[in-house]
Structure formats: C-alpha cells, structure tokens
C-alpha cells in the first residue's frame, strides 16, 4: 500500500462524507460464528467523538467524490471546484479491516458520488460489502448508501451484505427539491427505498418458516433531511418525517442543519449560522413521536406550523393543553406520565416500578431524577404540597423560563444582537 496516497484519499473522501449525520451501529444481529472476525449484536458503540460532539462509530467515507449531478446543497456537486479522488475496492476493504482489528470502529459506512450512472455506482458499493463478508469473513456493521435510481436487483443484493441501507431525501419538500436539485426527482429516491422495505418484509416472513433464510438489512433503513436550506416550516419537515416512518418503516430519520458551503443565491449565504437549536427541537419532536406516544398533529398543525425555540416541544404542547393536568404520579397510566414536561421515558419506567412498593413523594421523585423545575407544575404526588395556584399558560411559561437556564441561551441572545460577530460559537 502507498500510505501517503491512501492518506490523501482518506482526507478528501472522509471530509466529503462527513455531512451524512448517521453513524448508528446499533440494531443489527450479526453474530460471530466459527471464530471469525467481528460481530454486531444490537448495541451500538461510539469509539470516539469529533470536536463538534458527534459520535464516531463507523469509518464513514465516499468511494469517490466524482459526481455527475449538480445539486446546489451538496459539497460534491459537479460544478464545485474541489480536489477529487477515488478509492479502489480493495483499499476500502483493507482500511476497514485494519481499523476494525484495532477497535477503532464498529464497521463501514460507504457512500459515493455518482459516477457514470446509478447502477455502476451501486454495483461498486455492493462489491466492497461482498468482499468484506465473503473474503474477509467480516461480521461487523456495514451501512451502504442506496444510490437514487439503482436497480431492484442491486438493491436486493445490497441488503444481503449490508446491515443498514439509506437514501437521503435531503430536501423535505418537493418544490424545494425542484429548485435546488433540478436533475433529481423524488421518485428516484423512493424507488430503492420501497424495494428495500418490501425485501425486509419478505425476508422476515420467510425466516419465520425457513430458519436458514439469510438476514436482509437487519438494522433497517434510514434517511436524512437538510434543515434550513429551502425555507420549509417545521411542520413540513415533521409531516414528511412521519410519512417516512409510517410508509417506509424507517428506523431513523436524521435532521441535519444546513452548513453553508456555496455562494449559490438559492441558498443561505456562507457564514450563516448552522441552525443547531432548530435541529435540536426537531429531534425532540421526533422522539415524542417515536417513544412518547404523541401524534404529529398534536404538536404541529395549521395553527402552530413551527416549534417554539425557547421551550421544548413537550412543554409547549402541555401549555396548550393545561386541562389535561395535573397528573397524579401514583395513579396515572404510563401514557399520561410520559406527557408530563420534564419526565423522560427512563423516569416513567422507574416511577412505575417504584410506586408498586410505596407512594412516591417529591423527595423520591427528585432522587429518581425528573426535571422538577418543569414537572412540578404539571403533577401531584404523595404530599399535601403542590402547585395549586391557577396560572395561565403565558404566566407558567415565563415562570419556568425565569427559573431555568438553557444551554442554548447564547443562541437566543445572539438572535437579538444583530451586530455580534458571525464567528460566535452558538452553543458552548
């Protein structure tokens, strides 16, 4: 191996791949049989974290950053004047194995710019995964990007080697896509997604009958949307997201605040801050949908097309629905406990277990770890003391805000301060 050349390629192709947020390595079930190399048995591991605080679990690279498309939001777009490089299949295989054996990574996340056409690109990605599985006996995690427009046969083969497949729809609305990526249409994204979904269902049902059926993309599919590149509302983003969870049985939808990389007038200018607070609120909403039993229509709708930035979406919902409170911690069913602001699912679980032994009071609840500053206004427990004063939603909100400090408080103040330098880091 020519290490200097590999190093250069790695720098270019890791740099180009970093805008893909997903680094999940969980949810698979590949065990290590016959003393071979590796496993990925459900629990993901972050082997390190970048200086921006993101998990590094996989070797995340592009096979090449040569691309025939010219999507405005993408750093690899054809018209962008950047250094181009391409890995050979064997180079990716060797690098993955060497990193894996040293416990640097959980596996490989391979994506690519589209050279020649969709199928030629997808074929090369599948070739890497196949070599890892069949020649190196590798049982670690493999995440392959499904190339928009790739054929059904290739997608079927890809799922046999990969743990997860993903297509990034990138722009939440169709009109946005038309504006920023005129050569792409939404159907190209949906086609491989639909194929993978159907294969997953089919392999699962066959496996029930015939045990030797191979596993197909055991960690499922995911997708990603760029936030803040095309003037979409939070409702538009989250309704799209809910649609993908429902229709395509996505394991995850990722939200990626747009990082300005181009002087294109259709996009936010270079130097515009990455909308990290908005991204955070969207993830909170995503969690409410997936784990807390909320319906998207309760949180975002015609009257409320955007999330509030100064309070979390659950608190925001609660303030609009004060008639549903207070909730009695010692009696309420799980579904209602999960709706109390400041009480997470872990605490809900603990409360349900602990209240079998005794009635819980404020002290118990504090020790269990619920966020009292918010929760206390929405609940009663085994105590005569409780917040009995009837307050309006606006009063409650200002009371809660005055008693807490947000890690994003700086972001709020820079929004007011027009003349502050652009370089100010927003979350410290």
């Amino acid at each position: 191996m020519d290490y200097e050349r590999i190093k250069e390629k790695l720098n270019i192709l890791a740099d180009a791949a970093k805008y893909d947020v997903s680094c999940a390595s969980s949810g698979s079930k590949r065990t290590n049989k016959n003393n071979r190399l590796g496993n990925s048995s459900g629990m993901g591991i972050c082997h390190t974290y970048t200086e921006d605080g993101r998990c590094v679990s996989l070797l995340k690279i592009l096979l090449t950053n040569h691309c025939i498309f010219d999507c405005a939001y993408c750093v690899t777009r054809k018209s962008n004047d950047i250094k181009r490089a391409a890995f050979k299949v064997q180079e990716v295989v060797d690098l993955t194995i060497a990193f894996y054996r040293r416990n640097y990574i959980e596996g490989l996340f391979l994506s690519s710019g589209i050279f020649k056409n969709a199928d030629a690109t997808m074929e090369r990605l599948v070739e890497v995964a196949k070599k890892l599985r069949e020649e190196e006996n590798f049982n670690g995690y493999i995440h392959l990007k499904s190339i928009p427009g790739a054929s059904d046969e290739l997608m079927r083969e890809a799922g046999l080697y990969a743990d997860r497949l993903s297509v990034n729809i990138e722009i939440p609305t169709e009109k946005g896509l038309k504006l920023l990526a005129p050569d792409k249409n939404r159907e190209d994204f949906l086609k491989p997604m639909r194929k993978v979904k159907n294969e997953i269902i089919q392999y699962k049902s066959e496996k029930k009958l015939i045990k030797s059926t191979p596993i197909y993309a055991p960690a499922g599919q995911s997708t990603q949307m760029i936030i803040g590149a095309s003037n979409e509302t939070d409702a538009e983003i989250m309704y799209t997201s809910a649609y993908f969870y429902k229709k395509f049985q996505m394991k995850r939808v990722y939200y990626s605040g747009y990082i300005p990389i181009s002087h294109d007038h259709r996009l936010p200018a270079i130097g515009t801050e990455v909308p990290m607070l908005r991204e955070n609120r969207l993830y909170q909403t995503d969690w409410l949908l997936r784990f807390y039993g909320f319906d998207i229509r309760e949180i975002l709708n015609k009257e409320h097309p955007n999330l509030e930035s100064d309070i979390d979406p659950k608190l925001s919902w609660a303030l609009r629905n004060l008639d549903q409170f207070p909730v009695d911690i010692n009696r309420a069913e799980k579904r209602l406990l999960a709706r109390i602001p400041g009480v997470g699912m872990k605490s809900v679980q603990k409360i349900i277990q602990a209240r079998r032994y005794r009635k819980l009071n404020w002290e118990n609840l504090k020790a269990i770890g619920i966020a009292m500053n918010r929760a206390k206004f929405f609940m009663v427990c085994d105590s005569r003391e409780f917040e009995s004063k009837d307050r309006t939603a606006a009063q409650l909100k200002s009371l809660i805000l005055s008693q807490s400090s947000s890690k994003f408080s700086k972001a709020h103040s820079t929004q007011l301060n027009l003349f502050s330098s652009i370089e100010t880091p927003i979350a410290v």
Binding site: K7, I12, A14, T48, D52, G257, P425, A427
Partner: protein, 256 residues
C-alpha cells in the same frame, strides 16, 4: 460498639464477610476491604478469612431471594470499589433475604436507588472501555491495549471482546490495578505483567510494536480530523463524551 469486618477485597471475601455477619449474629457492623479500611478508637475490627465454600453458600442464598437483575446488580456495584459500597450492598442483601421478594426496584429506598445509580456508572465505564480500548499490534502478532478505568470493569469486558475478536490474540491491561486479560484464541485468562511499567508512559514503544502500527495510528488520526465539521464545534459536548482522563489511551487525542 461498631464492629468492622476487614476482608481481602475479593468478591468471595465480601460474601464470606456476609456469611460471618449472619453466623456471628452481628448487628452493628460495617464491611471494609483491607486497602480502604478506616478505623477509629471506638471500633473493634476482625479479619475475614476468605472461604470459597461460605461464599458459595451466601451466593446460593442470594440467588434464591433475588431476581437475576438483582444478582447482576450486586456484582456490578461491587466492582465499583466505591467507599461504603459493601454496606449499601449488605443493606440490599439483608432486605432481600428477610422479605423474600424482589426489592431491586424499590427506588423509594435511598440505598437501593444508590445501587441502581452505581450499577449505571459501572455499566457506563464498561461501555467506555468497549469503545476506548485501542489495540496496537506487537511484533509477535498480538493485539495489545492498556487502560486505567475508574472502576474494576475488566471482568465485564471479556464476553464482548472474546466474541468480537475471536480470530486474533489480544491483551487488555489495567495499569491502575496492575492486571490484564489475555485471549489466546481458546480462552481468556488473567495475567500480571512483570514489566508493565514500560507501557505506562505514552511513548510509542517502538521496540514492541510493528512499524505498520504507526501508519495505521496516523491514518486514524487523519480520519478523526477530516470527519470533524469545524463550523459545528462544540467543545463542551466533546468533553462530556470523551473526558480528558481517557485521552492518554486514545491515539486520535494524543498531541504527537
């Protein structure tokens, strides 16, 4: 008068101490390991002689009274080596044996909530080791890593590393407690190195490791740099996930 039972620090020793408490019908008692024992003027102390048979009997009793989680919790919390953890565990064991129901989830009991928190801390440290172990290949083909975890988590690592790196020989060595685990392609055994001091400094130890090793380390460092998004820099979050005390074992965080 309070009585101190001093045991040798092993899990069997701790269980033997519990046997002695019941055997001698002690009421005002505290259990301490030898290396952390504190005694004042009013205490009397006696040494526990570790006895596998007694330990086994206590463990059997606990097994009957506790759920599986309760049992794992006892072992994991014990590995924390925190001051006073023995007495907290004894409180839990005493309640389990007396009440004959599973009390592991009675989080209204402060001591039991404490156990669940300590178990979480130990679990987190174990998970960190799963992540932060960095193997380097020695000239004789062995993959070698040093760690110094906050808690004694090496016994909890065996299963994961054995089933993942089944086709390579490896050693994970705890420099703080001066012992390691070694997988020889068949089984995992405990070892103590005579020259473990040689690995203590973060020197590259050119004499032990292959030349290729330096190359992969530098490729990994390069990757770590390239995958960072500068405009999203968030040092607080970074440090929360990778506290500084672990940096000495992470090649991507070393300055050279």
């Amino acid at each position: 008068m309070r009585k101190i039972l001093v045991y040798d620090g092993s899990f069997d020793g701790f269980l033997t101490a519990i046997f002695d408490v019941y055997d001698e019908k002690l009421t005002d008692v505290t259990i301490q390991p030898k290396h952390r024992s504190t005694q004042n003027f009013f205490d009397t102390s006696s040494e526990v002689v570790t006895d596998e048979k007694k330990a086994h009997r206590v463990w059997e009793g606990i097994s009957k009274a506790c759920s599986k989680t309760g049992k794992t919790n006892i072992y994991r919390a014990f590995l924390s080596e925190l001051d006073g953890i023995e007495d907290t565990l004894f409180h839990f064991i005493k309640r389990s044996l007396a009440e004959r129901v599973d009390v592991a989830k009675d989080y209204g009991d402060a001591e039991i909530l404490k156990i669940s928190k300590v178990v979480k801390m130990v679990g987190r440290e174990k998970h960190r080791m799963d992540a932060f172990v960095r193997f380097r290949q020695t000239k004789d083909g062995l993959y070698f890593a040093t760690v110094s975890p906050d808690f004694n988590v090496l016994p909890l690592l065996i299963k994961h590393f054995k089933s993942r790196y089944a086709d390579q020989q490896w050693i994970i060595y705890d420099l703080k407690r001066d012992y390691g685990i070694y997988y020889n392609l068949q089984e995992v055994t405990t070892i103590v190195l005579e020259n473990s001091d040689a690995f203590r400094s973060n020197s590259k130890n050119g004499s032990f490791f292959t030349e290729e090793e330096m190359v992969f380390e530098s490729l990994w460092k390069n990757y770590f740099k390239s995958t960072n998004i500068v405009s999203r820099k968030n040092t607080k979050l970074h440090l929360q996930h990778v506290p500084k005390r672990y940096w000495k074992y992470l090649s991507e965080k070393s300055p050279v």
